[in-house]
């Protein structure tokens, strides 16, 4: 199913589209969410919330505004960052046992690498350390570029440039 077909099926509220949507994007979305939220159970909750929100607010998505994944991943990132900053989650984290954290880490390492992604090592080598860092902070840790600039003590312009360079590297790599 192509992205266009999927979008049109989702617009028509077809149930089959929900399955296709999940199968096509759940791992990518979960990858982003679980980078932001370490706790597996919470990350899974956020993944579910993400799909529910996608399903409910799908009418607000338009192909004119960009790719489906961009829209979805921003929903996922916002939900994850909101959860991370929510009072409940902060309190919950204070009470985490060390043993549990070990388990979280183990589970988090349970990354599935698909065969077509074997080039990842090249990719990692392609990016300069400062490019990886800015991408990590903004894309996976939920920092805004302003916060990242504060965090790293780097001017905003530089942050923007590094981010652009990092993404250009990615583009070059994928092309």
């Amino acid at each position: 199913m192509s992205e266009e077909e999927l979008v049109s099926a989702l617009k028509n509220r077809e149930k089959i589209a929900v399955e296709a949507l999940y199968d096509m994007y759940s791992s990518s979305l979960y990858g982003v969410i679980s980078r932001i939220i370490i706790d597996t159970a919470t990350a899974e909750d956020v993944l579910q919330e993400t799909f529910v929100k996608i399903w409910h607010s799908f009418s607000s998505y338009s192909t004119d505004k960009g790719r489906l994944f961009t829209w979805m991943v921003n929903i996922a990132r916002h939900l994850a960052i909101d959860k991370l900053r929510s009072k409940d989650f902060k309190n919950q984290n204070k009470n985490q046992e060390l043993e549990n954290n070990v388990t979280f880490i183990d589970e988090q390492r349970n990354t599935v690498y698909k065969p077509e992604l074997l080039g990842i090592k090249d990719l990692v080598q392609t990016l300069k350390p400062e490019q990886k860092l800015i991408l990590e902070l903004v894309y996976f840790k939920g920092y805004t570029h302003v916060e990242a600039a504060d965090e790293l003590g780097i001017p905003l312009g530089t942050i923007k440039t590094r981010l652009r360079m990092a993404i250009l590297q990615l583009r070059k790599h994928f092309n």
Binding site: R13, K15, V18, E19, Y22, S26, S27, S28, L29, Y30, G31, V32, S34, R35, E44, L47, Q48, F51, V52, W55, H56, D64, K65, G66, R67, F69, T70, V73, N74, R77, H78, Q108, N110, T111, V112, K114, L117, G119, I120, L123, L135, V138, Y139, F140, T144, H145, K160, T161, L163, R164, I167, L170, R171, H173, F174
Partner: protein, 275 residues
């Protein structure tokens, strides 16, 4: 074109794709993209690469998450459509509901209670009627019993008079003024100084409404009134107690105006007897 190139190089498009722009900036980027195909192409390229990047960092959620999320969306669809992978599973979960057993116990119990109540009321009413009858009979029996008791007491009393050795019976015999058959029996208890008249043995002409017989005792040749009495049709068997006297020599009965007289009317002396 220089402007567009500068716009692209400003890095705003990357921030837009990362969702790290203000609403105003967002609108601006979308406007620029719709105006300039080059910007649109650049945006699309950035989006694609980020999507691929995310794909490389993908983490497969655990298997149960698929069912969980799809089911939660099905719930949100508000219908009971099932997903293919779940179908057999769902089928197994369908349990044929047997119609609940009709439990008539309470219905019958209620009917039984009602029947019992009605029967009880009937029995209570009938018993109550019988009790009333019995009470009425008991009252009748009681009054009869009292009557007999008083009769027996009276008889005992009468009998005691006859048995009492200190009682003497004096028969008063008719004078010239009375029929030959006339007679009266007077009982005198010398101990108690009581005078009694045996009403069963008053054989005298009947008195009328204006006259009564008066009993006298003759004490020291002077008459002492001992009271009046009637002779009617009604039979009386009582020993009528009259006045008391200490030592009478004789008893006499005269016919006097009703209520009696202070002195006896000697012309109407009917019977007389010596003690």
């Amino acid at each position: 074109m220089e402007d567009i190139k500068a716009y692209i190089e400003s890095g705003i498009l990357e921030l837009y794709v990362l969702g790290d722009v203000s609403p105003a900036e967002k609108l601006q980027v979308e406007e620029m993209a719709s105006k300039h195909p080059a910007i649109k192409a650049e945006l699309d390229d950035i989006e694609r690469s980020m999507e691929l990047y995310a794909g490389e960092n993908a983490i497969e959620p655990t298997e149960h998450m698929r069912d969980r999320i799809l089911n939660s969306l099905v719930v949100n669809l508000a219908d009971d459509a099932n997903f293919p992978t779940k179908k057999s599973h769902v089928k197994d979960n369908v349990v044929t509901l047997t119609p609940p057993k009709q439990n008539n116990f309470y219905k019958y119990a209620f009917a039984a209670c009602l029947a019992l109540l009605i029967a009880s009321v009937v029995v209570i009413v009938s018993i109550s009627n019988k009790l009333n009858d019995a009470n009425t009979q008991l009252l009748a029996l009681n009054s009869t019993n009292q009557h007999f008791t008083s009769t027996v007491k009276y008889m005992d009393h009468q009998l005691s008079i006859y048995r009492d050795p200190s009682v003497k019976f004096i028969k008063l015999n008719p004078t010239v003024h009375a029929p030959k058959t006339a007679s009266i029996t007077v009982a005198f208890n010398s101990e108690k100084k009581e005078v009694m008249l045996d009403m069963a043995n008053v054989k005298m002409p009947k008195t009328d409404k204006t006259h009564q017989y008066q009993l006298w005792a003759i004490v020291d040749k002077k008459p002492v009134s001992l009271g009046v009495f009637d002779k009617t049709d009604a039979d009386s068997i009582e020993m009528k107690e009259m006045g008391s006297v200490a030592s009478p020599q004789a008893f006499a009965v005269t016919l006097e105006p009703r209520g009696g007289s202070i002195n006896p009317t000697m012309d109407e002396m009917m019977v007389i007897g010596n003690y």
